[in-house]
Every structure is written in structure tokens, then in C-alpha cells.
């Protein structure tokens, strides 16, 4: 018998995806696969040696732009700042025709209403962090209210944080139940579960947290809040992609991936795409299943595209800041 059986897990054979959790047997999370760190590093280093040039590069760069969750998560955010970012989401670099929009804008719950109004009709989604982001140190009722507020304001996606303290103390059922409860509160909004891998210390923990999140009903798993270093290293993302693959094999359910934090240049983003393609396959290479959480990546990608188009190296002076 599995040692840790979450409360929601015990009676979820009768549940379906709509209610929050999957109707598959939940494994014993204390015995999730161990990760071979040296092996991961070796595999990851190979993704970084691919040479992606000319037209393939340009196609990759366009794809990256379309996968970005343009993010502002600061205490000093104002409606004005959010409006400006939403404008950028729809007008990345108007001097060059044919550029896609970003996938979504990611803001705090208090800014969802503002953002929703700004991106209306553009296809750009509004994602909101919730559950007492970034620490997650609040009681479940508060987290549920936080989530419901964001959903009521019109958020299409919810980025929740897990309780890392509880996770590290081995209270996996607590973490599982919390995710399942938030998933239920999300309604139609897609749920991204932030593991905050920088606080999970080991790749074994990253794998375990990924499994918990997916079995508890996550639509996406996401590496980090962006507030803690290290964030989305390729090692961590690779471990999570493998977890998604195993989950897919086990249950037949697709889960999306969002590395966030630390991916600030095009080259690294391209390496991530290579990794996604080789681990999960082409089905994941669109913004329905793969996202980049970043604030400065967009401009670097735009500069690379303009370099490819004009032949001149670019300057940040000619690109909008937000």
C-alpha cells in the first residue's frame, strides 16, 4: 500500500478532470523515481550544442515570442504599468510587420481587471498569480479567496505556488490537497502550478513535486516564481519535462510546461525549445502546452529577429522597455 495517500486521492476514482483531479491511481509520492543528476547534466549539455542558424533560427524566434508570458510581478506595479505592458503584448515591435503576439500577460490578482480590459479581443490571455504568491504562506481559505478573486476578475489562467515548507517536511498529502482545492476553485481557468524549484534543493524533490502537482490536477507545471535564484535552469526544466512524459505515458493526459525566471536571452530559449522537442515531441511546441515566463526575453528575441532581418546588430535604444 502507498504510504502517503492524499485525502482527495483516496476517493478520486469517481472524480473526473472537471472536479480537479485525475481519475487515475495516485502513486506513492515517497517513492517517485530518483534523478541521476550527472546524467541530467550530460543530457542537457547536449541540447546546448545544437547549432540553430538562419531560417530555422528565425522560425524558432517567432515561436518563442508567441510562447512568452509577459510578466510584471512587483510591489510597485500600477494600473499604468500594467496597461503599458499589455500594449507591448499586442505591439511587440510595430516597425516590423508579421510578428506574433505574446501568449499571455501575467500579473497580480489586483491587476487582472485592468489587464483583461486592455488585451480584450487580441487573443492574448491574462494569467494571474495567486495563493499568496510568491511565498504561499497563507491559510487555504485565503488562497482560495485569492484564486476566486482572480478568476472572477476574468483571469484565463492561474499560476499558484505550492507550500514548499510543507513539501520539504514530507507532508505531500497536504500539498496534493491544496493543489486539488485550488484547481476546483479555478473553474474554467487553466491552472499552472509553480514548484519554486530554487527552494526544493534537489532534482529528486523537483520530480516528486512535479508528480504531486500533475496527479492533483495541474494543467501546467512551472519552475519558479522568478523571486528566487536559481530559477529555470535547464536541468530543472529537463527533469520536469521527463515527469510530464512519464505522466502522459501513465495516464494519457497532457500537461504543459512553463520555465520561468532566468531565461533572458534567445539562445537559452532556443535550447529550451530543442529540449522540449526532443523530450516531449512537436505536440508541445505551441503556446497551448509550452510557455516562457519572462520579462526581458521578449526584447532580446526582437533584437535577434531584427538582426536577422537587417543584418545589423541592434541596440536596446530602439525597442520599448516594457
Amino acid at each position: 500500500m502507498p504510504r502517503y495517500i492524499a485525502i482527495f486521492a483516496t476517493n478520486k476514482h469517481s472524480m473526473n478532470k472537471k472536479n480537479g483531479t485525475t481519475n487515475h491511481r495516485v502513486p506513492d509520492f515517497s517513492s517517485t523515481p530518483r534523478i541521476d543528476k550527472v546524467g541530467v547534466e550530460e543530457r542537457v549539455s547536449r541540447f546546448q550544442k545544437r547549432s540553430i542558424k538562419s531560417s530555422a533560427k528565425l522560425q524558432g524566434l517567432h515561436m518563442i515570442l508567441n510562447m512568452i508570458d509577459l510578466t510584471t510581478l512587483e510591489g510597485k506595479d500600477t494600473p499604468g504599468k500594467v496597461r503599458q505592458m499589455c500594449f507591448k503584448a499586442r505591439h511587440l515591435h510595430d516597425v516590423h510587420a508579421g510578428l506574433p503576439n505574446v501568449a499571455a500577460v501575467c500579473v497580480y490578482p489586483s491587476m487582472v481587471g485592468v489587464a483583461k480590459k486592455e488585451v480584450e479581443g487580441s487573443g492574448v490571455k491574462v494569467a494571474s498569480v495567486s495563493t499568496a504568491f510568491p511565498s504561499g504562506q497563507a491559510p487555504l481559505e485565503v488562497k482560495l479567496m485569492d484564486t476566486k478573486y482572480a478568476v472572477d476578475q476574468g483571469a484565463d489562467e492561474i499560476d499558484m505556488v505550492i507550500s514548499r515548507g510543507k513539501f520539504l517536511s514530507g507532508e505531500y498529502n497536504f500539498v496534493f490537497d491544496e493543489i486539488a482545492a485550488i484547481k476546483e476553485a479555478c473553474g474554467k481557468a487553466r491552472l499552472k502550478v509553480i514548484l519554486e524549484t530554487g527552494e526544493l534543493v534537489t532534482l529528486d524533490n523537483v520530480r516528486r513535486a512535479s508528480d504531486i502537482a500533475m496527479y492533483a490536477g495541474a494543467d501546467f507545471i512551472k519552475t519558479s516564481t522568478g523571486k528566487i535564484q536559481p530559477a529555470a535552469t535547464m536541468q530543472v526544466t529537463y527533469t520536469m519535462l521527463e515527469a510530464i512524459k512519464d505522466f502522459m505515458d501513465e495516464t494519457g493526459i497532457k500537461v504543459g510546461m512553463k520555465p520561468a525566471g532566468g531565461i533572458s536571452n534567445s539562445k537559452l530559449a532556443l535550447h529550451n525549445l530543442v529540449m522540449v522537442k526532443e523530450v516531449l515531441g512537436e505536440e508541445w511546441l505551441n503556446n497551448e502546452w509550452f510557455r516562457f515566463g519572462a520579462s526581458s526575453l521578449a526584447n532580446d528575441v526582437l533584437m535577434q529577429i531584427m538582426k536577422a532581418e537587417t543584418g545589423h546588430y541592434q541596440s536596446t535604444d530602439y525597442f520599448s522597455i516594457d
Partner: protein
């Protein structure tokens, strides 16, 4: 047992570090006696890009540094150069200069650094102005650093020419990317070693060796370069610079000076790589007599 000589690997200087060119290529220039000067990095356009990125990153810190402190650092470069005089003399002789001229050139280079070190905290006072205006404003103009400046040397005096171009650029708070003289790169590399031991923050001066023809275009049409200073008389180079500069309105400054002449140093070479900022500051009255102050 006969000792095997340890030959030096000459490398480029980007962001305070000494990497090899990312292209992995090298070339072997000869001195006037037909002897190999060394295996020198043949930098690529990507090295130019990396150098500009490093220079841009260093610009904020360098331009906001206290002017007096910039002067101290320029003085420090001169101190370090003084300590390595004989190495520079040897290199100049090896590259084809006479011993006498080589010694004169090194001393001149040291003195030139001291000259511009002195100007660091004074040029704004001398160049700046308070302007008469017909409204109730206190109107004044000050010089500010341009940004990232390219330095292209195309002259036979490889040390003094380099120092004479770089010193006024950095004295004024700019950072720079230097394309070293293609035929005589030794002094530029050794000068980089001087810089790395003399308190100059990494990225303020970046030095690349290689074929000018290959590096000039990516530098001249780089949108993040604000100006280029060129010492030489090659009309084709000047044309290339002026044409590419039109992209982002770079300032192009061309010098045809005998750098060994003491008159070749002047304040206006600092002004050449500055932008003028004019401020209109509202006041109550213009005239002194009716002023409420």
C-alpha cells in the same frame, strides 16, 4: 639540456577578460625583417558584438563614476605603463621601429595619459557654458558622455596612436571597442595587460585584433555604437564609416595627426566624443538688479 622557449598566446580583451576569438582563427603578421610577430587572434563579427555588449554594460558605471576618480584611474594606467616601459620598447623595436624612436614613443604615451588624466575633472567646466536667454530661465549647457565609442587605428605608430585615441574617449566617460592596428597588434595586446592591472573596470576598454576589413562593417553599422574615432587617411575606410553611421546617426571623427607631436593632444578631442545637454531652469527674474534673490 637546452631550454625550450615558452611562446606567448596572444589573446583579445573583452569585458576585462582575455578570451580567444570565438571563431578560433588566427593570423601571423610579419615584421619588417620578415620575421613572424606571433599568432594573433583573427577576431570575427561576433567578437565585435560581444565587445560592444561588454562596453555597453560598463558604460553606466564608468560614466557615472566621479570625474576625479576617472582621472585617478587614467593616472594609474600611466603608472603601470611606466613600469613596463622596456617591454613596450622591445615590442616596438621588434615591430620595426628604431630603439630611439621606440623609447620616445613609449614616454610620449605615458605623458599623454597623464595629460588626459588631468582633464577628467576639468573639461566640463571649461567646455560648458551659461547661455543668455530672453526668458526667465537659467540656461546652461554641459557635456555628457556619448556612450559606446569605436576606436579604429590605421597608423604606423601602434602604441602612441592607440593611447592618443583611447585616452580622450574614456576621460570623457565613454566606453570603447578598439580595433587594433592589423599589422602591428603587439602593443595593443600588451596595453590590454596594462589595463587589466590598473583599476580600469572591465568592459570600459575592449581590444580586438584581426582584419580591419572584417571587423569594420559590423562595428560601423552596429546600432548600439554611438560614435567612432578613426586615425588614418584611408578614404575607403572613411566612406564606409560615414555610410554605415547614417543608420543610427553615429558621430564619426577622423584624425590625421602626427601623434608623436606634443601639439597632437588637446581638450577638443574630449569634446569630440561628448554630447551637449542644455537645461532650461525656471527662475523668477532674469536681471540681477530686479531679482528677488
Amino acid at each position: 639540456m637546452e631550454r625550450l622557449e615558452v611562446l606567448k598566446t596572444y589573446k583579445i580583451y573583452i569585458g576585462g577578460k582575455f578570451p580567444r576569438t570565438e571563431s578560433g582563427r588566427y593570423y601571423t603578421p610579419l615584421n619588417s625583417n620578415g620575421k613572424q610577430i606571433g599568432n594573433i587572434c583573427l577576431s570575427s563579427r561576433k567578437d565585435v558584438r560581444n565587445a560592444v555588449v561588454a562596453a555597453r554594460k560598463a558604460f553606466g558605471g564608468w560614466s557615472e563614476r566621479a570625474a576625479f576618480n576617472r582621472g585617478q584611474i587614467l593616472y594609474r594606467i600611466a603608472e603601470m605603463l611606466e613600469g613596463r616601459k622596456s617591454q613596450f620598447v622591445d615590442e616596438l623595436v621588434f615591430q620595426g621601429a628604431t630603439k630611439k624612436n621606440a623609447e620616445k614613443e613609449v614616454l610620449m604615451a605615458i605623458d599623454r595619459l597623464i595629460y588626459y588624466a588631468g582633464w577628467c575633472d576639468k573639461y566640463t567646466q571649461v567646455l560648458g557654458s551659461v547661455n543668455p536667454v530672453a526668458s526667465s530661465h537659467f540656461n546652461f549647457s554641459v557635456h555628457e558622455a556619448m556612450g559606446v565609442v569605436g576606436v579604429v587605428t590605421d597608423i604606423e605608430t601602434s602604441l602612441i596612436g592607440l593611447v592618443s585615441l583611447v585616452a580622450p574617449v574614456i576621460a570623457g566617460g565613454n566606453t570603447c571597442v578598439v580595433l587594433a592596428n592589423e599589422k602591428m597588434p603587439l602593443c595593443a595586446i600588451t596595453f590590454a595587460e596594462v589595463l587589466s592591472t590598473s583599476d580600469v573596470p572591465g568592459g570600459v576598454i575592449n581590444i580586438l585584433t584581426g582584419a580591419q576589413k572584417e571587423m569594420l562593417t559590423p562595428l560601423a553599422n552596429h546600432m548600439d555604437v554611438n560614435g567612432i574615432v578613426y586615425s588614418g587617411t584611408d578614404a575607403a575606410v572613411v566612406k564606409e564609416l560615414e555610410e554605415s553611421a547614417a543608420l543610427n546617426m553615429k558621430r564619426i571623427r577622423v584624425y590625421d595627426k602626427n601623434w608623436m607631436d606634443i601639439e597632437a593632444q588637446d581638450l577638443y578631442q574630449i569634446a569630440d566624443v561628448q554630447e551637449v545637454k542644455t537645461t532650461w531652469h525656471p527662475i523668477e527674474n532674469i536681471g540681477g538688479a530686479t531679482s528677488s534673490y
